[in-house]
Symmetry: C2
Subunit: 416 residues, 2 copies
């Protein structure tokens, strides 16, 4: 088995509110096994459409996986359509039926007659137990092809795949030929990163163990996804290591991590290494920076807390910002950001104080200080203050500000 | 035009890191026009695979849309593959070429020779201008079918569709036959909502203007998506109105909004209506609650700010929580939550004080107060305190806590 197609079944996946995300997870699992996904499809609960999709996929690849359509209702057609294509009669499986009955009995409810349909198994099919639902999966083989039917809910699909499908596929596929790594970059625009990395992309594409580099950008954070291909696992790892090192060489301190660690986790690690604590004063980010820092498990060791000073009087009363400075410089200024950072550091008895004050919009901008103007300051290990001009809407300005603030802390604390 | 298939082109969309999200947006736009998406596909940058997908879609539906593969490199094959299928020669379009040249000239860069490929247009094809990139789109017609080629980046695709494709499709499709509405529910489990709504689902499915109800759950917030179908727009709106009213009847005050407003926006609206302000004291949510409230545009009118009291001494020093209470009852207790709410309300001079203190995990749980134990209190309009026991991991506990806290404020302030 080396190539696959995934068919998601369900009319709800063809509405504007639901996306097939199972295929993303399955693609990652299959990639680990060295199996390439050649195409993905979504079809509704329609016999003809599903049958056409399955037949066409069977013509092209040696593994076809379907997700969804294994429930008990008449809309759930996957089992029957696949049985028909393979010309295998469906037979009631006593063991499966018993399992479904027991599942209902444990909840003290009788099994509805309709659920009997889920015990129908195509002759020669192998039943895959579902630890989290009534719909069993199926593994079928025909003409050198493997067909796997999985349930739609991720909490049923993922354990079923991991326990029952993955080991069987591993036996039939060549060892994996790809390894991956993520390099996280902060404080650079996507175009800057793209330009800096472009020569590396060419260089590493043409090596004996080639490394492909893909850029994924979100406001303030850019991920470089490195993918090495080759027969030898340690050669792939060496290639990834070399590629990551080359990225660090061209981007320098803008590289946050080469091992998938988030910006907030790296900040936390550096604080923890020094035994330092942090306190945050936020205006336009309204709690997002502290929210991200406290997202890191164990952050109570190095986060003291913070003050969200949205109103100006809160900046004065709770952070000790001088009312005169506030009036003279304006709430969005490096002077006020400095005072907020110093105030939150002193009052919350932290080693590091961080402050963010800015105009996220849509209102509040002036010709002098348009929407997107944000002042960020640091107090403690170093005294730093900087004014940024971010583009985008309210949410983007808040995200850019959050990333820039965390990155300022990261850069101020050298790794031990 | 009444049925469509969407084909996303790009090998990167077959990796574990990228999902085709354009089709979700396009599905919504097409639904507005009364056009049903029958299937969606993702294929790599492979001529044979793309050609097979386009041919098969043309057999089934009268509108085929492709996204991606219109760039200048040799990996960008969509234009050529479609021209070949339709047997239309590609001809260089002087106007398009001039447009691309100008785009580079504005950035003071010469046009790379490779970008000439983007000026190739199949004979009879209509060029769709791209206001945000070099890749023009294409509109083609053949044998009663419409084929539309759109660029991959959403910021290029969406305006191109809205300006050039949507009006042309509107001329050729029957008026829309569906209308949608979202009912937001808080403070109930998904299974409770499902059970309560089940009889309504049957009742509204069988009406002359049927309304379908789909449940989408995330921690602490449940969305009921209502979709009415029928020829008459005002009958559809009336059916939606009746269905929303029926949901409100069975779920009562658990319904946050029937017009798509978020929980935080509803809270803000109720505060604004009374002329009240809020201040938030957060422990385990670490700033997320204040972060969400300040996400609402104009929130500076009713958010004073907040204190993230992660460390216990911050609870004492910044919020005036009694150290004795803290020692006797523990940081996660209704008594401490009450004191935090009262403290933040008084110190930040707000009308409403809200406090959250809990154990998000993974560490910190005890037999007495396991991970997921969260105390939430309100001070001001009413004095309320409640202890919750949430399931799930750290992130889920934080999300459940955030929703429960906002919902407590919403329920405490009657609508005007």
């Amino acid at each position: 088995v080396d190539s696959a197609e995934i068919i998601a079944v369900g009319t709800e996946l063809l509405t504007p509110i639901r996306l097939d995300t199972n295929s993303l997870w399955l693609t990652g699992e299959l990639a680990d096994l060295g199996i390439t996904v050649r195409a993905k499809h979504v079809v509704g609960d329609d016999r003809a459409d599903l049958a056409a999709a399955v037949r066409q996929s069977l013509d092209r690849v040696d593994l076809v996986m379907t997700t969804g359509g294994l429930g008990p209702t008449h809309d759930d057609i996957t089992r029957e359509v696949v049985a028909e294509i393979l010309e295998r009669p469906l037979v009631e499986d006593a063991g499966v039926l018993e399992g479904i009955r027991e599942r209902f009995a444990r909840r003290r409810r009788p099994m509805p007659e309709i659920n009997r349909r889920q015990a129908m198994v195509p002759v020669g099919g192998l039943v895959l137990a579902n630890a989290h639902g009534t719909a069993p999966g199926l593994w079928l083989e025909a003409n050198g092809r493997v067909i796997v039917l999985l349930p739609g809910p991720p909490r049923e699909l993922q354990p079923m795949f991991s326990r029952h499908v993955r080991p069987k596929l591993a036996d039939r596929s060549a060892p994996s030929r790809t390894s991956r790594r993520v390099v996280l970059v902060a404080g650079r625009a996507e175009s800057q990163v793209a330009e800096a990395v472009e020569p590396l992309q060419a260089r590493f594409r043409d090596r004996p163990d080639p490394v492909a580099m893909t850029i994924l950008a979100s406001p303030g954070r850019i991920e470089l996804h490195l993918r090495a291909t080759g027969a030898d696992g340690s050669a792939r790892e060496a290639a990834l290591e070399a590629a990551a090192a080359a990225v660090v060489e061209v981007l320098g301190a803008a590289v946050v991590s080469t091992d998938g660690q988030s910006l907030e986790a790296v900040v936390g690690q550096r604080l923890a290494d020094r035994g330092w604590t942090i306190a945050v004063a936020e205006s336009c980010t309204g709690g997002l920076v502290t929210g991200l820092l406290t997202d890191v498990p164990g952050s109570s060791a190095w986060v003291r807390g913070g003050v969200v000073a949205y109103a100006n009087t809160v900046k004065v009363d709770q952070l000790g910002v001088d009312a005169g400075t506030l009036a003279a410089e304006g709430a969005v200024s490096e002077a006020v950001a400095r005072a907020m950072a110093e105030g939150v550091r002193a009052r919350l008895e932290a080693d590091v104080g961080l402050a963010i004050t800015g105009i996220a919009g849509p209102g509040g901008g002036t010709p002098d200080k348009p929407v997107g103007t944000v002042a960020i300051a640091l107090s403690g290990p170093r005294e730093v203050a900087r004014t940024f001009h971010f583009g985008g809407d309210r949410q983007m300005v808040r995200q850019f500000s959050t990333a820039a603030a965390l990155d300022m802390v990261r850069r101020a604390i050298d790794p031990t």
